[in-house]
Every structure is written in structure tokens, then in C-alpha cells.
């Protein structure tokens, strides 16, 4: 197959991935609820006016809750809602963007890295095939499918922000064109939430590691100097762009009695450390390295189907036996680092070292390390599978490659199916009488909302809507 056909195929897959979520919800349905409520999909403008613009929790005794970081994204939703005028379509649109952009960004990353590793890969269909496979692995492996699609929080946007930002930075390092740098900064502004205190675990799990990886590539593979001036300039612009949401947190930090102030300055440090470690140890007791190596969800695996997932580590090992590319080796090192942080339980010394890291201020944000390192781990896992597939595609017969494609596609089909058919976003409410999460807003309820709520800012009326209120 010619490379140009592969490129068309990649665009076709991205388009299909964009369309698929439009079949998940029936007309009028919404998957509201969860930790964030997701009411910003129902009425983004009202959500902006009632919640985002005020630093007060609209319940209880009205504690401080600074959530300015979501203003740009919810504003974008408001603009989209103005044109689309349907929460169902808006939810589907956002899900479609997440899926297709995650796949396409990942495809571009792998292609770019393969070209960097071996320039002749530019015209090889195998490189495109490997990049597409890696992109599909990234969105369809069990850890990714089970990684937060059900009533997704806004932080779940990291599924496409991580590869998108990585690609933009990679292109910047390869071409030195500032346009990629500016695009990356624009992304950080629109999705400020993913660069805020609310997303700090996901941010610190992915970006420091990835920036280190890119800098090593720049120095070692591209043989170029590190553009310190531009990076420093970018950092300053990034801080300025984010100042609208960072400054209130800084003020809150130094306001006596605020939650953040108490957390940082008043809490007994040893008991805080102990609480973080206790949580970490309880999570770690259920984590298995063997499942991580096969990328199976911890604690939830079917014995017979699970055996199919051995194809991933086998592909990686065989790939390393056949390829000597330096980029491939660096990918491998970063894969192992992310796996260490994702699994924690690699020898007693490794576990003790991990626990010692909790003495670093702020590291306790990784107490639920398995969830917080998930997307970083998936990223390097998919990267290494893509590179391994390419290494094998170049060295073994075509028949064997077809066997390998079938061997990889079979387990991926089983893990992808709940996402493709939408059942992952339409689960049944726990302990309910078969009540699905996705529901249609009752018109009479909407009428109650329109007529019963007094038009006063001093009064609040609570109406049960979903599991979170």
C-alpha cells in the first residue's frame, strides 16, 4: 500500500472516530453527573454566570472554590452551544474531538519520531501503518478506555491535550518554527484547566517527563542546541496567559483561613505526610506489574481474554531484538520510567524510594498514582508498541506481519468495543433498578426550573437532577 493511501486512511479513521460518539447518546440524552456535575454541557452560559465567575461554592456554608481555570473552555462550549443549540450534540462533538484528535496527534507524533529515527521512513507505508496502529492503541487499550470516559471530568481532556502538546513541541524542536510554539501556548490558554492546580497530578505526570524526552531528542538525535531563550520566553508567556487563574490561587494561599492556606501552612506536616502515604500504600496493595505490562486494568480482568494482551510485551521484546535505533531506545527508557511511577511496586527498594519521594512538598498529589500516571503511561506504552511494530514490519515477512496485526487487533477489538458502542458512557447507576447514567431532561422538570426558581440572587433552590445534584 502506498504511503499516500495510508495518509488518506489515517484521515478517514480520524473522521470516523469523530463521528462515532454521535451514536452514543439518543436524541435529547445527556450523561450529566459525576464529580464535576457536567452541567456546563446542559447550559454553558448559565454555568459560567452561576459558578465559574464566582469563587464561592453554591452550597453548604459557601466556602471558597476558585475555578476560574475552566472559564476559557466553558466559554468555548458556550459559543459552540450557541451554534449547535443541543447539549446532546455538544457532548457528542466534544467526545468526537477528543477521540479523533487523540488518534491523529498520536499518529503524527509516531510518524515524526520514526522519520527522525530513520529519514527513509517518510516514504514507507510501514511507518504510516505503525503510526496508525500506535494511535489506535493509544485510544483503545484497556487503560485508556477505562480511564475516565464515564461522566468524564474536564481533566479527561488530557487524552488529546497530551499528544497534541507533545506533537506541537516536537514539531517546534524539529523545525524551529515559532508557529508551533504559539499554537501550543494557545492550547494551554483554551484548556487552562489542564494546566491548573486542578489538573496538577496529570500535568506533572506527563509534561516534565515529555519535555525531558524532547530535550534529549533535540540534543542527542537532532544534534541541535537547546533554545533556552525561546523556552524561557515561552515560560513567561505561559505564566502570563495563566495568571488569570494562578493569581487567585496565590492570593488564596496567603489568605489566612482559606483551604489552601490551611493545607500548606497550618496542617501538621507529619500527619499530612502520613495521610498521603497511607492512601498511597492502600492503592499500591492492589497494583500488579504483570497487568501493567499487558496494559490490563488493575483488578478487573477476564482470565481468558487477558491472555490475548500478552501480544503487546511480546511485540516490544521482539522489536528490540531487531532494531538498534537510538530514538527507539530512548522511548524504551521513558516507557520504563513511566511504568515505574504507574506501578510503584517494582522491588522493595523501588517501593521504598517511591515512598521517600512523598517527602518532596507536593508529591502527595500522586497518592492515587495509578490513576494520575495513567495517561503518561498509556502514551509511552503506545509509543513503544508503535516503534516495535515498525521494527518488525521492516525485518519480518509480510505474512508474519499480517499475523501480528491480527494478534494486536483481536485484544484491541475487545477493549475498544464498549467505547465504540457507547456502553462505557451509558453505565447503570450503582444499586439502581437498571437506571442508566444517560437520561433525557423531563420537559415538565425544565418547566419547574423556568418558573419555580425565584429571580433573586440571595436565594438558592436545590432540585435533584442526577447523582451529584
Amino acid at each position: 500500500m502506498k504511503p499516500i493511501l495510508f495518509r488518506f486512511l489515517s484521515i478517514a479513521i480520524a473522521t470516523a472516530l469523530f463521528i462515532i460518539p454521535f451514536f452514543w447518546l439518543k436524541p435529547g440524552e445527556m450523561d450529566l453527573g459525576g464529580d464535576s456535575g457536567r452541567l456546563y454541557f446542559y447550559d454553558p452560559v448559565a454555568y459560567l454566570r452561576s459558578t465559574m465567575l464566582y469563587g464561592i461554592i453554591p452550597s453548604g456554608v459557601g466556602g471558597a472554590a476558585l475555578s476560574y481555570f475552566a472559564i476559557p473552555f466553558v466559554s468555548l462550549l458556550a459559543v459552540l452551544h450557541f451554534f449547535i443549540n443541543s447539549p446532546t450534540v455538544l457532548i457528542s462533538f466534544v467526545n468526537g474531538v477528543k477521540l479523533s484528535l487523540a488518534f491523529f496527534s498520536f499518529y503524527l507524533i509516531v510518524k515524526e519520531l520514526l522519520i527522525l529515527s530513520l529519514p527513509s521512513a517518510r516514504n514507507k507505508g510501514a511507518a504510516d501503518a505503525a503510526a496508525m496502529l500506535a494511535g489506535l492503541v493509544y485510544i483503545f487499550i484497556p487503560s485508556s478506555v477505562g480511564g475516565g470516559w464515564d461522566r468524564a471530568l474536564l481533566t479527561h481532556n488530557q487524552i488529546f491535550i497530551n499528544p497534541l502538546m507533545f506533537y506541537l513541541f516536537l514539531r517546534y524542536f524539529v523545525t524551529d518554527a515559532m508557529v508551533y510554539f504559539y499554537l501550543a501556548l494557545l492550547v494551554t490558554f483554551i484548556f487552562s484547566l489542564n494546566f491548573s492546580i486542578a489538573s496538577s497530578p496529570g500535568f506533572f505526570a506527563f509534561f516534565p517527563l515529555s519535555v525531558a524526552f524532547l530535550l534529549i531528542l533535540r540534543k542527542s538525535i537532532m544534534k541541535k542546541s537547546i533554545p533556552y531563550k525561546e523556552l524561557f520566553f515561552g515560560l513567561i508567556v505561559f505564566v502570563l496567559l495563566q495568571s488569570f487563574q494562578i493569581l487567585p490561587h496565590v492570593l488564596s494561599l496567603f489568605s489566612y483561613g482559606s483551604g489552601l492556606n490551611s493545607l500548606v501552612f497550618l496542617d501538621n506536616s507529619s500527619s499530612t505526610l502520613r495521610a498521603g502515604l497511607n492512601y498511597f500504600e492502600s492503592v499500591a496493595s492492589n497494583i500488579k506489574l504483570s497487568l501493567s505490562l499487558m496494559n490490563l486494568p488493575q483488578g478487573r480482568y477476564d482470565d481468558l481474554l487477558s491472555l490475548l494482551y500478552f501480544v503487546f510485551p511480546i511485540t516490544v521484546l521482539l522489536g528490540y531484538m531487531r532494531n538498534k535505533s537510538k530514538t527507539y531506545i530512548y522511548v524504551g527508557f521513558f516507557f520504563l520510567i513511566s511504568m515505574f511511577f504507574y506501578t510503584a511496586k517494582i522491588t522493595d527498594i523501588g517501593f521504598a524510594f517511591y515512598k521517600a519521594l512523598f517527602r518532596i512538598p507536593g508529591f502527595s498529589m500522586f497518592r492515587n498514582f495509578y490513576g494520575q500516571w495513567n495517561y503518561s503511561f498509556i502514551f509511552y506504552y503506545s509509543l513503544i508498541v508503535g516503534f516495535s511494530f515498525y521494527a518488525l514490519a521492516l525485518t519480518v515477512s509480510r505474512r508474519k506481519i499480517y499475523v501480528l496485526i491480527v494478534a494486536i487487533a483481536t485484544p484491541m477489538f475487545f477493549s475498544a468495543w464498549p467505547l465504540v458502542n457507547g456502553s462505557i458512557i451509558r453505565p447503570i447507576h450503582h444499586q439502581s433498578d437498571n437506571v442508566p447514567v444517560a437520561f433525557q431532561m423531563d420537559p415538565s422538570f425544565q418547566q419547574v426550573l423556568r418558573t419555580s426558581i425565584p429571580n433573586q440572587t440571595s436565594a438558592l433552590l436545590y432540585l435533584l437532577l442526577h447523582d451529584s445534584i
Binding site: 504483570s290 528490540y320 517494582i346 522491588t347
Partner: protein, 117 residues
């Protein structure tokens, strides 16, 4: 004089040991493989001293016999095979986990070797 004799004796002994080690390369490497297999299959408790001890011997083997990185990746495949069998029989038992830890280390060592090659 006595010191010189002792030194010559030690050098000779070292040469003999090294010659034997070189002559019995396959035996030594088989022993290392057996140590890994025994650690995974027969010893219930995980021990860092044992894991890093065997790894130390293996790294010494790499330096001594100038082993190619593919040999280490093959050791990784062996660990994966053990992990597969144990996963099939015992699920995520401590033995399966030990095989996974060996796979992790062989992958890491293999990559370092590959980088040097």
C-alpha cells in the same frame, strides 16, 4: 619475597578461574537462567537481595562474556513466557509478579546494552 610469591599465586589462580569460566560459558549462563527460574517458581517470598544479587551476577556475565543485548532481550522473553504460564495457572500471584519484575529489569538492562552497542 613471600609477598611476591603470594601475588604470583593469586594471579595464576585468577587466570585459571577465568579460563574455566570462559571454557564453561554455557554452563555459567545456564546457571544464571536457572537462578532466575528458581527465584520465580520455587521461592515464595520476593527478596531484593536475591533479585539484585542475580542481576549483579548477570551483569558480570555480560561484561565477562561480552553478551549481546539480544541475549538479554531473550532473557526478557523467557521471563515473559514464565509470566504467561503463571498468569494462566495462578492469576496475578506473587510468582507472576516476580516474573514481571524480571521482565522489567531485563528490558532495562537490554536497552542500556543496546545504547552502548
Amino acid at each position: 619475597m613471600k609477598h611476591q610469591e603470594k601475588k604470583t599465586y593469586l594471579t595464576k589462580t585468577k587466570d585459571i578461574v577465568l579460563a574455566h569460566l570462559h571454557a564453561y560459558k554455557q554452563v555459567v549462563l545456564t546457571l544464571i537462567v536457572l537462578l532466575v527460574v528458581a527465584d520465580v517458581l520455587f521461592l515464595k517470598e520476593s527478596s531484593d537481595i536475591r533479585i539484585f544479587g542475580i542481576l549483579g551476577i548477570y551483569i558480570w556475565g555480560i561484561l565477562m562474556y561480552k553478551l549481546h543485548s539480544n541475549y538479554t532481550f531473550f532473557m526478557g522473553l523467557l521471563s515473559l513466557f514464565l509470566m504467561y504460564i503463571l498468569f494462566l495457572i495462578t492469576g496475578t500471584s506473587p510468582s507472576t509478579e516476580k516474573a514481571a519484575v524480571w521482565l522489567f529489569f531485563f528490558l532495562g538492562i537490554g536497552m542500556i546494552q543496546r545504547l552502548k552497542e
